[in-house]
């Protein structure tokens, strides 16, 4: 059995736009291994393809090349780049999380329910799910008066923190973070960093993109540099 939670080999992602008959060159294949409790930061200039690669690991994007071997809680090795959709769906529900800056709100749910929802979907009892949700909202300093309001009415920064609370309430063995601290005030940023450190300490493996290099230095166990293939090279 592999002691890696994630083993990425030569993962690259490009696009083909049919209406322009145009190839958008791939981010150059990246390779790295990640153990429990480790965080790999994807670094590189804007437009290099960091987000594309993160989405390719989650399979929101179809990987163009490479292998993404994930070791499940049951000890099976699954290549996320090629696994059947039903298996990806099951892993997303229970083991693999994705955190963006953006929250798709359901207009009828309260903040507490939004955060508790993934746990309820996993079959966790309501009281327990709400307890975890409350703990997360508290840790991210969302005022208690807002917990029974719907986040649709919140500010951008509050929504972002609700989204992070939800992702960390769900937890998982592998979390993919796409700029979770972007556009947060310094105090909130510190709270999110503390939450990431706590999850790492509990054994969650993470692949993350941070805008802020100070945060990379503080949280990352390894840095993976992402560069884009030159247009000429990609056209071959």
């Amino acid at each position: 059995m592999s002691d890696f939670i994630l083993s990425v080999k030569g993962l690259g992602k490009g696009f083909y736009l049919h209406d322009r008959a145009k190839h958008i060159p791939a981010a150059v294949g990246i390779s790295f291994d990640l153990r429990a409790g480790e965080l790999a930061a994807l670094v590189g200039p804007s437009g290099a393809g960091k987000s594309s690669l993160l989405k390719a690991i989650y399979r929101s994007y179809v990987p163009s090349e490479g292998v993404v071997n994930y070791t499940t809680a049951a000890g099976d090795v699954v290549d996320l780049a090629h696994a059947p959709e039903t298996q990806i769906t099951a892993l997303r529900r229970s083991e693999i999380g994705f955190v963006t800056q953006f929250l798709h709100c359901l207009p009828r749910l309260t903040t507490l329910d939004v955060v508790a929802r993934p746990l309820l979907q996993q079959g966790v009892a309501r009281a327990e799910a709400h307890e975890v949700a409350a703990e997360m909202l508290d840790a991210l300093a969302i005022p208690k008066q807002l917990w029974d309001a719907t986040p649709a009415t919140f500010s951008g920064g509050e929504r972002q923190r609700v989204n992070i609370a939800r992702s960390f309430a769900q937890g998982g063995r592998l979390m993919l973070l796409d700029e979770p601290t972007a556009s947060l005030d310094p105090l909130s940023r510190e709270k999110v960093c503390a939450m990431i450190e706590r999850a790492k300490a509990q054994g969650t493996a993470m692949v993350a993109i941070f805008h802020d290099m100070e945060i990379v230095e503080r949280l990352a166990d390894q840095k993976i540099t992402v560069t884009r293939k030159a247009f000429a090279e990609a056209a071959e």
Binding site: D19, Y61, V62, T86, T89, L106, R108
Partner: protein, 276 residues
């Protein structure tokens, strides 16, 4: 794990058909009308699986064949060829080899349908409660008190005020008619539900509430759903996997977020990028 629904090579041709219908139509020919015999190819060689507890979207523009596909599975129409099996409590039903009575029975007890047009799914000449009672009667529930209580509970769950239970649905708003339809479709506890453009034509705020309601009900019951829509928002909101159709063909299928964020087929790219 066996899928709840397994559809293989389902085809529906309107018209007399010829042996060149399938090879002369489709996205690469930019038509679904056979140039040789004039038949309309509504669905061609569609194969897919719906898994237990899954919400699968079928997306495509008007005339792509998505509703035709679901109509056949709900026995509103007969296929020209192809096969579909429905796995119910471990027993496999070969849908198109059943006789009419068996099909009606399966549809009344083990399938639910919510149409875009409530007048197709509801009987406008009887009360809202009566519409639910009718379906319960067809599935052999004959005790008046039980039927009345079930209808009341279902309408309450779908947020139709119980005080209006004895009114005719024709007097209801569009959103409320849809909620009665949903209550009716759910009344027998069928494990398979078809939704055909259920929010089309409703106000945005009403749409959002109907979608949330459907999602809550799906999570409570674990019902498997086939959701036909041309609305990317509905697909994003409700489904985990999506099939894209054009000219009767399935041209792409995948995880819903992948279909919306990284569509592979030319047509899907166009569809997604033309969304507001």
């Amino acid at each position: 794990m066996t899928p709840i629904l397994n559809v293989e090579h389902l085809t529906r041709i309107h018209g007399k058909g010829c042996d060149r219908c399938l090879t002369s139509t489709g996205p690469e020919h930019d038509t679904n009308i056979c140039p040789h015999c004039g038949s309309v190819v509504a669905v061609a060689d569609a194969s897919f699986q719906l898994h237990r507890g899954e919400v699968l979207g079928i997306m495509g523009e008007s005339g792509s064949g998505k509703s035709s596909l679901v109509k056949m599975l709900y026995f509103d129409d007969q296929p020209t060829s192809g096969r579909a099996t429905y796995d119910l409590d471990g027993q496999s039903h070969d849908l198109f080899s059943l006789n009419e009575a068996q099909q009606r029975r399966l549809r009344d007890t083990a399938m639910g349908m919510v149409y875009q047009n409530p007048s197709l799914g509801l009987n406008f000449d009887i009360s809202a409660g009566g519409n639910i009672a009718e379906r319960l009667l067809m599935s052999d529930e004959l005790r008046y008190g039980v039927i009345r209580e079930k209808a009341r509970a279902l309408l309450a769950r779908t947020e139709v005020p119980p005080a209006r239970m004895d009114e005719l649905p024709r007097n209801f708003s569009g959103g409320m008619q849809q909620r009665v339809q949903i209550a009716r479709a759910l009344s027998t506890g069928a494990p398979l539900l078809f939704l055909d453009e259920v929010t089309t034509g409703l106000d945005l705020s009403v749409q959002a509430r109907i979608l949330d309601l459907i999602m809550e009900l799906q999570e409570e019951s674990g019902v498997s759903m086939l959701v036909v829509t041309h609305d990317l928002g509905v697909v994003r909101h409700l489904t985990t996997r999506t099939i894209v159709m054009k000219y009767g063909r399935i041209i792409e299928s995948g995880l819903t977020d992948q279909i919306l964020e990284d569509p592979q087929a030319a047509y899907t790219q166009q569809l997604v990028s033309s969304a507001l």
